[in-house]
Structures are given as C-alpha cells and as structure tokens.
Symmetry: C2
Subunit: 608 residues, 2 copies
Amino acid sequence: MITAEPRAAAPRVRIAGVEPCVDCGRYAAKRVAGDPVEVAAVVVVDGHEQVRAELRFRRVGAQRWERASMTPSEHDVDRYVASFVPDETGTWEFSVSAWIDAAATWRDELRRKFEAGQNDLSAELAEGAALLEIDVSDIAEVETALATTDTVEVSRAALARALTVTVEPERAAFGAWYELFPRSFGGFDGVAKVLPELVDLGFDVVYLPPIHPIGRTNRKGRNGSLTTTADDPGSPWAIGAAEGGHDAVHPDLGTLADFDRLVARAHDVGIAIALDFALQCSPDHPWLREHPDWFAWRPDGSIKYAENPPKRYQDIVNFRFDGPDADSLWTALLGVVEHWVAHGVRIFRVDNPHTKPFAFWEWLIAAVHAEHPDVVFLAEAFTRPAAMSTLAKLGFSQSYTYFTWRNTRAELTEYLEQLSTQADWFRPNFFVNTPDILHEYLQHGGRPAFEARAVLAATLSPSWGMYSGFERGLNTPVRDGSEEYLDSEKYEIHEGAVGGELSPLIRRLNEIRRSSGVFRRLDNVTFVDTANDALVAYVKGGGHDVVIVCVNLDPYANATGLLTLPDTLDLPLGFVATDLLTGVEYGWHVGDNFVQLGPGGAHVLAVR
Amino acid sequence: MITAEPRAAAPRVRIAGVEPCVDCGRYAAKRVAGDPVEVAAVVVVDGHEQVRAELRFRRVGAQRWERASMTPSEHDVDRYVASFVPDETGTWEFSVSAWIDAAATWRDELRRKFEAGQNDLSAELAEGAALLEIDVSDIAEVETALATTDTVEVSRAALARALTVTVEPERAAFGAWYELFPRSFGGFDGVAKVLPELVDLGFDVVYLPPIHPIGRTNRKGRNGSLTTTADDPGSPWAIGAAEGGHDAVHPDLGTLADFDRLVARAHDVGIAIALDFALQCSPDHPWLREHPDWFAWRPDGSIKYAENPPKRYQDIVNFRFDGPDADSLWTALLGVVEHWVAHGVRIFRVDNPHTKPFAFWEWLIAAVHAEHPDVVFLAEAFTRPAAMSTLAKLGFSQSYTYFTWRNTRAELTEYLEQLSTQADWFRPNFFVNTPDILHEYLQHGGRPAFEARAVLAATLSPSWGMYSGFERGLNTPVRDGSEEYLDSEKYEIHEGAVGGELSPLIRRLNEIRRSSGVFRRLDNVTFVDTANDALVAYVKGGGHDVVIVCVNLDPYANATGLLTLPDTLDLPLGFVATDLLTGVEYGWHVGDNFVQLGPGGAHVLAVR
C-alpha cells in the first residue's frame, strides 16, 4: 500500500532558470550602480491558465521589496523579463514570483468562445460575475466583461529563491589605469605633481606598487640579482622593515600625511589612487617577531621562503593562513585594508591572490563591502582559468587577464568569446604591459605594435591599463626570450615621466571610450571576417550605438582586406563611417568593405 | 570599525559545476539501471597544491556511500571525472568531495626542485619525513622520497551538495511501442492472440487506450459526431459508467481476470502491456455522484465540460485538483495507479498531463516510485516546450514529442539539436502516428513517406512507436486539412489486425536497433551535409560503434547527393559501409560520398 501526503496547496505555477545567476546562486552576479539589471525567468503553468509574473528587488537590509511587472520576451513567450536599476552600491537581492490570474484566464476563455461564435455564454458570464464580484449576465455584456481589467489571484503564488547582485561603483567595471612607481617620481609629492597630466591623458586610476618600508635581508639587486650594493632600493613587494609593515609608508616616499595629501589632490583632479595589497613579508617585517605563528617554519627552525619551483623568492616569506593563530592573522590583514580605506583609498590591486585561500578573500571582501561597498578589488592572478574565474566569483571586482599573451586574430577571437561567457562575474582589465610582462610582440614590433595593442585593449575591454613607459615605447628586455624589462624599475629607481610619442593616441582612445556606451560592456562584441588574418575586426554594440574596429596586427607591413558586415547585425544597408581616430569619413555598407591599414594601424569607426 | 569572524577552517578546495545536474539539483537526472553515470566537477584550489577528488554514490536509503577516485579529464585539467553504475532502479544520490593531498604536493615541489638541479634538499626531505611520519633517513635519497605513495589529507575536505539520479528500467529509455484498441481485436483474449506477432515484429510495448466502462451521456458518434446511434461504442477516453470507473474494465473487453491473463501472457512472450492513465470522467462516472467536490460546478449547478475554446469535449468533465476535497481526490487517483500496478501493469501512458497540476504529477510519480521504482510514465503532452520540459523534469520517464510535425531536413536537424540539450531529463518517444495525428506528409506521400518516417523515428530516438494501421499504410483523413483519421477508431470498432506491407521494414528496424548501442542514446547524433535538402543524413555514435543513416525525405522522386563525413568524427579514412537494411556493401571514406536513394528510401550503414 502506497502512502503519501497529497500536496494540493502547492503553487500551480513553476519558475525556473532565473537570471542572472552564478553557480546556482552560490555567488552574486556583478553590476554597476545606475545600470539596469535585466532579470529573466521561465514561468510555466499547467493547462491554459493565464499567468502573471513579478520581479521583486531590494537592497539587502531594506525593509520592503520593490516590484516590477514582468512580460513575456519577444522570442520566447515562456520567458518573462523585467529590469530594475540599483541606485546605490552594495548587495541587492531579487526574486521572481508568479501566479495564475483567474480573471485574465476567464477573459481569455470568454474571448475565444465569443470569437468562435458561441451563442450561449450566460454560464460563462455568471462565472465571471462571481469571480469579479460584478453584475454581467447577458450576452450583450460580453464586451463589457472583456473590457474588465481586474486581476484575481488564485492558488498560491510561486516564489523563486532570491538571488544576489553585487552593485559596485562605475570604476569597478570601467576605467583606464596607469601604473607608476612613486619612488621614480620623487615620492608622493612628485606623484601629485603629475596627476593633471594623467587626467589630461584620460586616465581614471593611478596604481602604485607597494608604498611600504622594504626589507634588507636577502634584498634583490639590479635586474633581480641576489647580490646588492648599499644603494639598491630593493623590490617594493618585499614588504616590511624596521620602519614598519603593511600599514606604514616608506620614509623615502614621504609621510602618511603626505600620502593623505596625494589622495586628496587626486580626488580634486578626478583620478583615483589604487594601492597594491600584497600579502607577503620581507624577513625583516615586524610581524615575524611579533606573530611567529602567522608564518610557516621548517622543522629545523628556519623559515620557508616563497617559491614556485624552480623559481625562488628569497626576499619574501608567505603567511600561514591556516596556522594556529589564523584568526588573528585574518583580522590583522582586514585591518590593513581598513587602515588604507580610512586614508581615502577605494581601489586595491591585489598581488597574487590565487596563492592565498579562496575562503580568505571571500571573507575579507565581504567584510570590507559590508561597511564600504564602494571599495574595488582587482585580482592579479595569472593561473588556471578555473581559479581566476573562482576569484572573480567570490568577490573580486575585476581581474588581470591573459590579454598580453593573446596577439593573433585567432587568439583574440577565442579569448574574447571565452570571457564573454563569464560576463556576469568576471570583469577583465586589459593591461598592455606590466613591470613583469613585456611581451615579445612589443619587443620586436616597435611603435606599430604598441599602437595596435593600445587600440585593442582600449576598445575590447571596459577596463584597460598600462605601466608607465608604454607611452614612450620602452621595449628592451633583460635578455632575449625574457618578458622582464632590462634594468627593471622593480629593483631600481628611474627618472619617472608621464607621456611620450603615444600620448595623442592614448588621449584620443580614452576620449572615444567615454563617448559611447558600447565600450562599457565586454560581451557586446561580434568578430567579423576580413579575408586577411593580419586584420582583426569587430563590431561593438548594436541598434543605435555601434562602433566598428579594425586593427592591422602586423607591425611590419601594410594590410588590405575585405571587412564583411553580415546582415544579422541590423546595421543600415549603407552608412557613413567616421573614423574616430582621424575624423576621416568613409562610405560603408552591409557586405564587403575594402580596408587598407599601415603597420599596426587601426580604424575605430562610428556608424551614423 | 569592520568586525567579521574569520573562517580559517573553511575548506581550501572548491567544487563547482557538478554534473549531471538539472535545474541546480531541483530535479533528478535520469539514467537506466546498469548504464554508467558519468559524473564531472570543476575542482579548484589556491596556490600550487595537489588535490584529490572522489565521487561518492549510493542508492538513497543505503547506509554507506560507495566511492570512486576522480581523475582530471583529457581536455580540461580542472574538470575531474568518474562514473558509477547504479545496479538497481530507484533514486540514487551522488556527491563529490575534494581535498589537498599534502604528500603529493610535497613530492611535486621536491621533484620540480630536483629537476631544476637544486642541490641541498635536506630541509625538504626533513619536511617530508615529518609529513609522512617516517624516519628522515628512510627517505634520505630524493629518488626514494619521490617513490613514496602516501596520501596526507590536510585542511577540511570540500563536499559538494548531493544530487540525485532517477534510475529506471531499460524500457523507460529504450523501446518500440505499438498502440491498438483492444475492442477492435475482440477484447483482452483477442489481444493476447496477436502478442506473438507483435514480438515477431520486434515490439517491446503494447499500449492500450483506456479499457474502462464508457459513459453514455453526450457520447460521441462516428467521426466525433454529437449524435449517436445505439450501436456507437463511444470514445474510450470518456471514462466511467454505471459499470464502474477508472479501476473497472469495460464488460465488452472481458473481465479483470481476463486482463490478468493478458498481462501474464505478455510477460511470457516478452512484451509489456502499457495502460492509458486519463484523468477525466464521463458525466456518468460513479465519482460524480460519490464525490461531487472532486469536480467544478458552475454557479447554476451545471457541470463544466472539458474545453479548450473553441474546442469542446462534451463527453468528459475534468477533476478539480485544488478543490475542498483535493486530498481525497489525489489519494484516489494514486489508488488507481496502485490498483493497476497490483494487476501487473508497469507502464502508463498518461493522457494530457499538462492540463493537471505539476505538483500532482510530481507527488504521484514519487509516491509510486517509492514503492515501485520500475514503473514507467509516458507523458502525452503537446503544449509549450517549457511545459513539456517541466513534466519531464518532475518525473515522467519519457514524453511524446513534436516529431510528427518535423518533416523537413531543417526541422529535423533543429529539433534533434533542441532535444539533445535536454537529454539528462527529457526522453522522447517518437510516434510516427497516433489515433489523433495522421500528418499530411503521410496522407500525401503514401508508402515511401511511411518508410522514411519509420527509419527516422527508429534510428533517431531510443523510443519510437506507431498506432496500429501504420504498417498497412492507412492514410485517409476525415477531411482535407485534418489530421484526424476517417472513420476514426476512437469512435468505432474496427476489424483489428497486426502487420502489413511495412512489416519487413519494421521488423528489420527493430532488429537493427537492438544490434548496436548507438540507438540507445539520442544525443550522440551529428547531422552531416548532403548537398541536397531532400536527403537528411546523420552519424550516430562514435569510436568503434558508428552507424550512418541517410534518408530521402522526398516521397515522390529519387534523390542524389554527396554525403560529407567530416574528419572531426574520428572515422577511418576509408572503410566498408554495410547497409543493414539490404546487406549491400559500399566503399566509403571521410569526405564526400555519392548517395542515390529512391522515393522515401534509406541507407542505415554500419561502419566496419
């Protein structure tokens, strides 16, 4: 004998596939304050009932849900859509509810019978009268009945599990970054002096490598040498010395008061200061003495240096995140972020986050965001795609990428397609170079290569960045086959400068990026044929806001090709294409368009 | 001041994307007892640690989990795979756990240092000795250390949420069905007589439309007429009369004892009896009197007939599933299934399940499966794809489809691609015709059309079926433009017969289907080019078990084309293709193969 408790009160409607949804709701999707969040859900009901679906949303902590009616989407009547605009940063939640509208169902049936010429509708009208509590009893009143707009909810409404969205400031998703070593510019005051030049070039963020005291034990010399002279300043990433650790500033850069003045000045001119958050210590860091349990010691009492065999980093040691005193370590590291937030910093570029526990980052970012939802974290992780994706899911606002190593048309196309599938949580920041990465394409290709890469980064990714010197075309490696710079600024002090031969292009690219919404998204890109592998071409956006980009990836030779605009893009059949880089106008059309570009040259064409 | 409780004890490893997974685990995936369940999961860890991943599985209710080691998949090192074979029907659950193996991590580091020529590895060896709890002198040699195989689990293992799999008998996924009206064969005894013929044709299931007493009120006459003569037997779907309801048998078919004998006979000859489960009543059904609260009454006291305006079904009324006495209704309907299960029935073809609440079906199927996991439910729902998909997700073993209305190459290709994406939960049963559906392709195309459709259904879908008469090419519609048969058996008694001109083809197709595992799956199909839209061609399977099918969809003319086998299919460059329908052998190869087929003709080619 089968025994089972009936569940007749269960909702008649089912809701599935609610989007945006990251890993079944385990993580939040990411959006920007002021931008709409498009929500979709498949709503099904048995029979021929008419359903209504509603989007509910609120900032987490708000007392009441706000609501918006959902409507069937154009291409799939079972998929209901609506959107909401989160107007402030923080964690928002949303859900979908749906129910049977008995009045609409009754009207739908009545209308179908009426249109089929059924004469006796008195029973139907009586049903409706009872349902709507109105008086309609006569066939003459069918039109009146059909004109009612009442809603009568029957059976329990279905309610989907709430999902979350992390709503961040614009800078989390869109910006132009410039990296410089403050010691090469005369410290904080010197950096403050070049801020107007960076603003003039269109940069939104200045990122400073670690500004803390630098250890002396095992300090690295020029070009990473294991021997040093008294003058060698050491790598800024070897954090901590007698003068202090992660919450101190290097005396040569100025005082904390000088730093505060730099932050204030940056705020005044409209650029943000980003600090490095590098969780490692020089052997001289005060914490080794104060908190030995925060570090891993060998059986022989020696400390284990950071290493990734065969590579060795003798000037730094790692924290032990799961040691006996882990709680106080985690709390102290959170305190470091809080310290710099108190000094006005809102952006952190996090060094090698993939070598620290995922749970640590998820905890730290959530804790910071609970108080300061406008703080942005950039993950500098070059590791397995699944680990990079996980860091993005668990909270990093944006991420370094493999862009520097994607130089051919096929590589770029494949990579952008991969990144597009992760757009709900992974926001790339395309750096064209870093102090660690001078790609051989730049080493060999010279200025045309630099130009091509700048156009690609600035137009493909909502966030892009460069390390100082790129605009002057610096490209000498420490040796053949290395991606390290010769006389790397990581180990010595340079004569810092902003600007160079590429300044006009960079300034114009940053202007163009601000002129159209298409550059604020990554997943609105369609790669198109060019009949020449040296030419990569893509269409950004759609509808009324479209930009067509074509870049000659060959830094040595002219390239000609046919750029094919397919009719699936909804472009005008013929149109004037204005090159935003040069102002030149071309007559273009759907179909094949002849293109000729010099070495590293590019079109960035606005469609009128 | 930010305050947050550190979570240093959290697992270091994260598990994501565990498959198979239907709607984030809301529903169970479907598999067949004895077939392997392939499980995959993305496993990520911070840093360079070595992880181990393990699959856990058990039949729900079993005390202990069984375990299997997972290994990185060939194309993606972060995706771990393993499989298990559920050996009995019922609900199974599985999960993935993963952890850091400190010993493997230590060996990996040691090996990398050793290979890089690092000389002093004594500190590393001492670390390993402590880790493995062995004497350091025992691994004083690096080679000895690297040869250790110990596993040391550190940090908490991550454990993914358990997911479920409904494991069903083979017939849930694979079978050939034959539908017949027992009253046209002289009742249960007559049906028993033709069972050997059906077995000879290779059928696995005989499906009988409702076998219950038929109502007299508003009984429909020939061709669905609203007027009847005394001889009209009525539609079997107008269930219930003075003689009884859903648990009774129509006196003209025999007794319940006769039915039991039919079931026993079917079991003996190796074919299964499937009953119709149609949840509706004729106005004469005893339940209207006994349980008025199970039905919807109008304000004027009349009962509402079933209708889908402008269509009206005056001979049946629907249940009210959410009425005041819903619990007793649900329990009674469950009792009907239990009644027939007690009489040996293990397959139910469910009539119009989409017009009853989803929650009812989910509840009923789960309740039946809890006691009888070998019971199979086929959903006869022709409605919105999202609703058909939902019925499959919530428990129906297999589903009727739009196959009858997919007749061109483009339609077939698109439809199979859609179905392939749902293979984890939606199992199609491709009926070539039903008492309600005589497609115009068959009406006009004659025997070649019947042959083409039989080959398509039998080779594309693991389950296929036909309604008696198909094998004789019956194809006269009640009127032009209708899909109803003339003199439909739904409303009158025919002279039943099994077999006809298509018997040899049907017999051979069912033999072929049993000869290769490729016909047991739907999602192993690759459509290939033929250079002629009249020719549809597809490759089933891969590796050592491959069948190539090509069908001429044109029932009126010969068709020639070039069947292109792409090199991505891993076929031998050249091979002998044996036509399983004719025995003829062809020399075929990767690339273009000339094909010529008569009207409705087909190749079903085995690759040697």
